[in-house]
C-alpha cells in the first residue's frame, strides 16, 4: 500500500472510531438521564414506603385501642337507648309538670 492509501485507511479508521465514540457517548447520555429519572422515582417511592410503614403502625395502634365486637354492639345499643331515654324523659317531665299543676289546682 502506498503512502496515500495508508493515510486513507488511517483516516477511515479514525472517523470510524470517532463515530463509535460519539454513539457511545449518546447512549451513555440516554442511560444517564434514565438513571437520574429512576433515582428520583426511587426517592419518591422510599418516602411512600416510609409513609406506608407509619400508616400500618397507626392502624395497629387503632386496632388495639378499639373495643371488641360485643362491646361495640353494646355501645351502639346504648346510643339508641340514650335517644329513647331522652324522649322518655321529656315525656316524664311533661307528665310531672301537668300532674303537679293539677294537684296544686285541687289543693
Amino acid at each position: 500500500m502506498n503512502r496515500v492509501g495508508h493515510m486513507r485507511t488511517h483516516r477511515v479508521l479514525i472517523i470510524l472510531l470517532i463515530a463509535i465514540g460519539l454513539g457511545l457517548a449518546a447512549a451513555n447520555s440516554v442511560r444517564w438521564n434514565e438513571a437520574a429519572g429512576l433515582r428520583q422515582e426511587i426517592a419518591v417511592l422510599q418516602l411512600s414506603v416510609e409513609g406506608l410503614q407509619q400508616i400500618t403502625s397507626e392502624n395497629s395502634r387503632l386496632m388495639g385501642s378499639l373495643p371488641d365486637a360485643d362491646t361495640l354492639s353494646a355501645l351502639r345499643a346504648d346510643r339508641a337507648a340514650i335517644s329513647r331515654l331522652a324522649a322518655e324523659i321529656e315525656e316524664l317531665k311533661a307528665g310531672v309538670r301537668a300532674r303537679e299543676a293539677a294537684l296544686a289546682f285541687k289543693k
Partner: protein
C-alpha cells in the same frame, strides 16, 4: 518546473518533506540575500532571518499553496522578520547611513552604486505597490526575463517592460526621498549587477529541517490528526474503550435501579388500601370515643328518668290518698266501725333484737269497703302526732320479744344508729299492717272506706341467764 503552490500543497497535504526542501532550494538564495541586505550583511543574523521566514512558510503552507507565486510573500516576510531583529540597531545604522550618505553626497552624481543603495533599498521597495514590487523582484532579484514576467503576470512582453519601467520610476522616486538620486536606467543597471550572494550549503539543510519540524508542530490540527499514524488511532481507540466501559457500568447501574424501583413499587402497592383502612379505623375510633362519652351520659339520664318516675309515683300516691280521703265518710255517721279480723304480728328486726333496742311507730291506713288495708304509710310526726279528725285511733299494738342478754358477752355487730333503727321499725310495721284484715265500716247498711291509725310499740324483754343471776 513544478510551481511553488503545488509544492506547498503537496507538503501541506501529504507531509512531503522533499517538496518543501525543493522550495527551500529554490528560494533560499533570494531570501538569504534579502535577509543579508536587511541585516546589513550580518551573516549570522541573516541566517536567523532566513530560517524564521521558512518556518513561517511551513506554518502557512496550506494557505500559501493556493498561490502560484510566493516570492512576494517571502520578500515581505523577510522584510518584517529582519525588521524585528534589526529594530534595536536601526537608529545606530540610520545614523551611520546618514553619515555615509552625507559623505557620498559631496560627490553626488546621477550614478549610484550598490553600497549606497543596499541600506535603503528594501525600505524603498516596501513603499511600492505590491504588484510593482513583485515585478522588480522577479526581474532583478530572480533574474527572470521579460517574456517570463509577461507569462507570470498574463501580460505581453512589451506591457511587462512598460510596467517594469513605471515600477523603476516609482522606486527611483522613493530612493530620491532618501537622498539617493539616480536615473531609472542607472538604477536598473545597479540592480541588475548587484553582487551575487551565495548561501552556505549547510544553511539549506538546517533551514529545511527546522522549518519542517516547526511546520509539523504548527499544523497539528484536524488535518494532522488524519496524517499521523499511531497516536490518533491509539487515542481514539482508548476513548472508545473508555466510553464502552462507561456504558456497561451505566447499564448495570440502571438495571440495579430498575430492580430497586420495581421492588419499591410492589412494596407501596398496598398503600391506597392501607390508607383507606386507616381512614375507616380513625372514624371508628372517633365514633367509639363519642359513644363512650354518651355512655356516661346514659347513667345520668337513667338517674333522671328514675327520679322522674319516682316523682310521678309520689304524685299518684298523693292523688290516691286525696281521693281516698275525700271518699272516707264522717266517723260519727258510721253505723258500724271497722273491726279487725286478722292482725299479723310484725317481725321484730333481729338487728334491734340483738342489741335489745325497741321503739314506737305510728301507721296510718285506709280500710276499703272490702276490709282490705289500702295506702298504709307511716304517720308524719311520729309517735307524738295524734290521730287527725275523721281517723279511727286503734289501740296500741305491742310487739314484745324476749331476748337473752349476757352483759359479759360482746355484741357481734355494732349498734345501729337512730335513723337506721327508725327505718327498720317502720318497715316491719308497714309490712305487718299491709297484711291485716278487717270487717269494713258500714253506714246506712253499706260498706264504706274508713281511715284508721295504729301505734305499734316494739319492746324487748331481757331474759337474764341463770348463771348470771347466781
Amino acid at each position: 518546473m513544478i510551481p511553488d503552490g503545488q509544492l506547498l500543497q503537496g507538503y501541506a497535504e501529504q507531509g512531503a518533506e522533499e517538496m518543501f526542501a525543493e522550495i527551500v532550494r529554490r528560494h533560499l538564495p533570494f531570501v538569504y540575500a534579502a535577509a543579508l541586505r536587511q541585516t546589513n550583511g550580518a551573516v549570522h543574523r541573516a541566517e536567523d532571518v532566513t530560517q524564521l521566514v521558512f518556518i513561517e512558510l511551513a506554518r502557512n503552507a496550506r494557505a500559501l499553496g493556493r498561490r502560484d507565486e510566493i516570492i512576494g510573500w517571502l520578500y515581505t516576510t523577510t522584510h518584517y522578520t529582519a525588521a524585528k531583529l534589526k529594530r534595536t540597531e536601526l537608529r545606530r545604522q540610520n545614523r551611520e547611513q546618514e553619515a555615509f550618505i552625507m559623505q557620498q553626497a559631496s560627490s553626488a552624481s546621477d550614478h549610484v552604486n550598490w553600497e549606497q543603495l543596499r541600506p535603503v533599498l528594501d525600505d524603498a521597495m516596501h513603499e511600492l505597490p505590491a504588484r510593482d514590487r513583485e515585478l522588480i523582484l522577479m526581474r532583478f532579484f530572480q533574474m527572470r526575463r521579460l517574456a517570463d514576467l509577461g507569462r507570470a503576470l498574463a501580460l505581453s512582453e512589451d506591457a511587462a517592460r512598460m510596467r517594469l519601467e513605471r515600477a523603476l520610476q516609482k522606486l527611483r522616486a522613493a530612493l530620491a526621498r532618501r537622498e539617493i538620486t539616480s536615473t531609472t536606467a542607472a538604477l536598473a543597471t545597479v540592480l541588475a549587477n548587484q553582487p551575487p550572494v551565495v548561501a552556505a550549503t549547510s544553511l539549506a539543510q538546517t533551514v529545511t529541517s527546522a522549518a519542517v519540524s516547526a511546520g509539523n508542530a504548527a499544523t497539528l490540527g484536524w488535518s494532522s490528526l488524519f496524517t499521523m499514524s499511531k497516536l490518533p488511532l491509539g487515542i481514539a481507540g482508548a476513548v472508545a474503550i473508555a466510553a464502552s466501559i462507561g456504558l456497561i457500568v451505566q447499564s448495570n447501574s440502571v438495571a440495579a435501579l430498575r430492580a430497586e424501583a420495581a421492588s419499591l413499587r410492589r412494596g407501596t402497592a398496598s398503600l391506597a388500601s392501607t390508607r383507606d383502612e386507616n381512614l375507616r379505623l380513625t372514624r371508628l375510633a372517633a365514633e367509639v370515643a363519642a359513644m363512650r362519652q354518651e355512655d356516661e351520659k346514659l347513667t345520668t339520664l337513667n338517674a333522671e328518668a328514675s327520679e322522674l318516675r319516682t316523682r310521678l309515683e309520689e304524685i299518684a300516691r298523693t292523688e290516691r290518698a286525696r281521693a281516698t280521703q275525700s271518699n272516707a265518710p264522717d266517723l260519727s255517721r258510721l253505723d258500724l266501725l271497722p273491726r279487725p279480723t286478722f292482725r299479723m304480728r310484725p317481725d321484730f328486726p333481729s338487728e334491734l333484737q340483738t342489741h335489745g333496742i325497741g321503739g314506737e311507730v305510728s301507721v296510718d291506713f285506709t280500710i276499703d269497703a272490702d276490709g282490705v288495708v289500702q295506702e298504709a304509710r307511716i304517720t308524719p310526726g311520729g309517735k307524738e302526732a295524734g290521730a287527725p279528725s275523721g281517723v279511727v285511733q286503734l289501740e296500741h299494738f305491742v310487739v314484745a320479744v324476749t331476748t337473752k342478754v349476757d352483759p359479759a358477752a360482746k355484741s357481734p355487730a355494732p349498734r345501729p344508729d337512730e335513723p337506721m333503727i327508725q327505718r327498720l321499725l317502720e318497715a316491719a310495721a308497714l309490712e305487718a299492717v299491709t297484711g291485716w284484715k278487717f270487717e269494713g265500716g258500714r253506714k246506712g247498711g253499706r260498706a264504706v272506706n274508713t281511715r284508721l291509725q295504729v301505734r305499734m310499740v316494739f319492746t324487748v324483754v331481757p331474759e337474764i341467764p341463770a348463771s348470771a343471776t347466781r
